[in-house]
């Protein structure tokens, strides 16, 4: 067995078998690299972290009650970004709303209140959420 065929390049373990050649494939000259989700969703691997969120405060921003979020620390948080923030020592995920005077953490669910950041509060942006990963089975169990 030639172990070089045991490919783990994309984080997926697969055993590619060699198919004996018949006619040369007409697709040969058109081959491209298979899609790599890491490359698509993680632009800055060194500053990217994955977290698991739970709760309903961002449901209208399409973050379901259980989700995995890709968070990039290297991005500069802008008005309207979904951010992972640290508010008085606690992590939370909210929309960031800001103007030159003030700054808010805004939920995407009318049952939750938006939080105005005042001077007494200690608030830091840990990173910017870039993608939401949902397992369909988690969604199904919420619908029941």
């Amino acid at each position: 067995m030639n172990t070089n065929n045991l490919s783990t390049e994309k984080g997926i373990l697969s055993y590619d078998c060699k198919v004996p050649a018949g006619f040369p494939s007409p697709a040969m000259d058109y081959m491209q690299e298979r899609i790599d989700l890491n490359k698509e969703f993680i632009k800055h691997p060194l500053s990217t972290f994955i977290i698991e969120s739970s709760g309903y405060s961002m449901i209208n921003a399409f973050i379901p009650p259980k989700a995995r979020l890709i968070v990039d620390r290297s991005l500069t948080p802008k008005n309207g970004d979904i951010v992972l923030a640290v508010l008085n020592g606690e992590f939370t995920v909210k929309f960031l709303k800001k103007n030159i005077h003030k700054c808010w953490l805004v939920p995407a669910n009318s049952k939750f209140k938006e939080i105005e950041i005042t001077e007494e509060m200690d608030m830091q942006i840990w990173g910017v959420v870039t993608n939401i990963i949902t397992n369909v089975n988690d969604v199904k169990s919420c619908m029941r």
Binding site: M1, T3, L6, T8, G11, L13, H44, L46, S47, F49, I50, I51, E52, S53, S54, G55, S57, M58, I63, R68, R73, S74, L84, V86, G89, E90, F91, T92, V93, K94, Q124, W126
Partner: protein
């Protein structure tokens, strides 16, 4: 570049509540404090204080205590180093939290600005606070880093840009705090009237020639701004490999210690394969706890030369267990065992032994498959049965945080 209280900073990154609170990280087996937050330093918890001795301070001041989470620290360290790598053409990783960056060929005229950018990038992108010291030699750069930590706390960067600044830095650094000067040597220098690094640099040539070894002279040059310590951009292959740990609690049973020996032999074999080398001999050792004077003491090691150099897990375990069988004696309470791989050679340069019964080619393939499977599916998914599964002898890691960045089941959980 030197990370500030690196292990504590890693813990704080995923647990922001620890900000402002005294935090310590304990060594392997939850023994001594090996990383302390500034708040813990103020409380007087010294480096390498055994945790049980500091218990009163810990309880009274609500100090947060962690076991060392090397899986996490290793990944964060890798992120820090690679982030640094984007700033300079070459860097030398000196330890898990220190690196030398070669700034020689850069076009920057203001290295202080570069230092600030580096510090800012590591803090923002990876989340770890660091200090940067910039100077003409490694020894002076280490000193500049220390200077930044002590005297330029708010900026965290110091550039010893000219003779005047170097002199000032040397004058506030005691000889004992110079990189490469040990305690004994510092005492000797002080006895001879050299208290600060500046006084040492101004020492008469005569004294240096008479009293310093080659290493000492190299250091003397470095302090004068003449580079004398070579760069090591590629980590050299290790000359010998040792895996040994204290048991979580004292062990008496032969089977359980044998399991530990098997695992350490397997770990050595993996390290050998990782650097494409084989070993020609194996040492197995075993010892009781010397500090427990009430116990009978025993310690022994055995060195075995192998007929053919190897890095195969199975073969290494076989020999290690043979050795263990010879040195093990019933009736003692064992603290520690270990396996060393010595006399390391590159794996292509192996001369087969005439009486070799092992199919080495086949074994090599098996090892390659095993390593690949383990690397993609999880550490030690495939292993030999003697390695066991329970690891009853395992280290104490009572206060271990999660593997936030390497295990999907342990990622940071946030209630939103």
């Amino acid at each position: 570049m030197d990370c500030n209280n690196f292990y504590v900073s890693c813990e704080r990154l995923f647990n922001p509540k620890l900000e402002g609170r005294p935090v310590i990280v304990l060594s392997n087996n939850d023994g001594c404090a090996v990383s302390r937050s500034d708040e813990a330093k103020v409380l007087g918890i010294e480096m390498a204080t055994p945790a049980f001795m500091a218990r009163e301070i810990i309880e009274k001041n609500n100090v947060a205590v962690f076991s060392s989470n090397y899986t996490l620290y290793g990944d964060i360290s890798d992120r820090v180093m690679k982030t640094l790598g984007s700033f300079v053409p070459r860097l030398e990783i000196y330890s898990i939290d220190e690196a030398f960056l070669d700034m020689h060929d850069l076009d920057y005229t203001d290295l202080l600005e570069l230092g600030l950018q580096i510090k800012k990038a590591v803090k923002k992108n990876v989340g770890i606070p660091v200090c940067v010291g910039i100077a003409p030699t490694k020894t002076l750069a280490k000193m500049a880093n220390r200077y930044a930590k002590k005297h330029r706390k708010s900026i965290g960067v110091h550039w010893a840009a000219n003779e005047h600044l170097i002199k000032e830095m040397l004058s506030v650094t005691e000889v004992g705090d110079v990189w490469g000067i040990g305690r004994q040597y510092a005492l000797f220098l002080k006895r001879n009237g050299f208290n600060t690094a500046l006084e040492l640099v101004s020492a008469p040539e005569e004294f240096i020639r008479k009293n310093m070894t080659v290493v000492g002279q190299r250091l003397f040059n470095e302090l004068k701004g003449i580079p004398a310590i070579a760069w090591e951009f590629k980590q050299p292959a290790k000359k010998n490999i040792c895996t040994s740990k204290s048991f979580g609690k004292l062990q008496t049973k032969k089977e359980e210690i044998a399991e530990a020996v098997s695992n350490y032999a397997a770990a050595c074999a993996l390290k050998l394969r990782d650097q494409n080398s084989c070993c020609r001999s194996i040492v197995v050792f075993l010892q009781t706890n010397l500090h427990r004077t009430q116990d009978k003491q025993y310690s022994r090691s055995i060195n075995m030369d192998l007929p053919t150099p190897t890095n195969f897990t199975g073969e290494m375990i076989t020999y290690a267990l043979k050795g263990f069988d010879i040195i093990f004696k019933d009736g003692y309470k064992y603290l520690k065992c270990g396996v060393m791989a010595l006399d390391i050679v590159p794996d292509q340069k192996i001369q087969a032994s005439l009486f070799d019964k092992l199919d080495r080619k086949k074994n090599k393939t098996v090892m390659e498959v095993m390593d690949k499977v383990n690397k993609s599916l999880g550490k030690e998914i495939v292993r030999l049965s003697t390695q066991g599964f329970q690891k009853r002898y395992r280290l104490k890691t009572e206060y271990l945080s999660s593997h936030f960045t390497t295990d999907m089941n342990q990622i940071l959980k946030v209630k939103i």
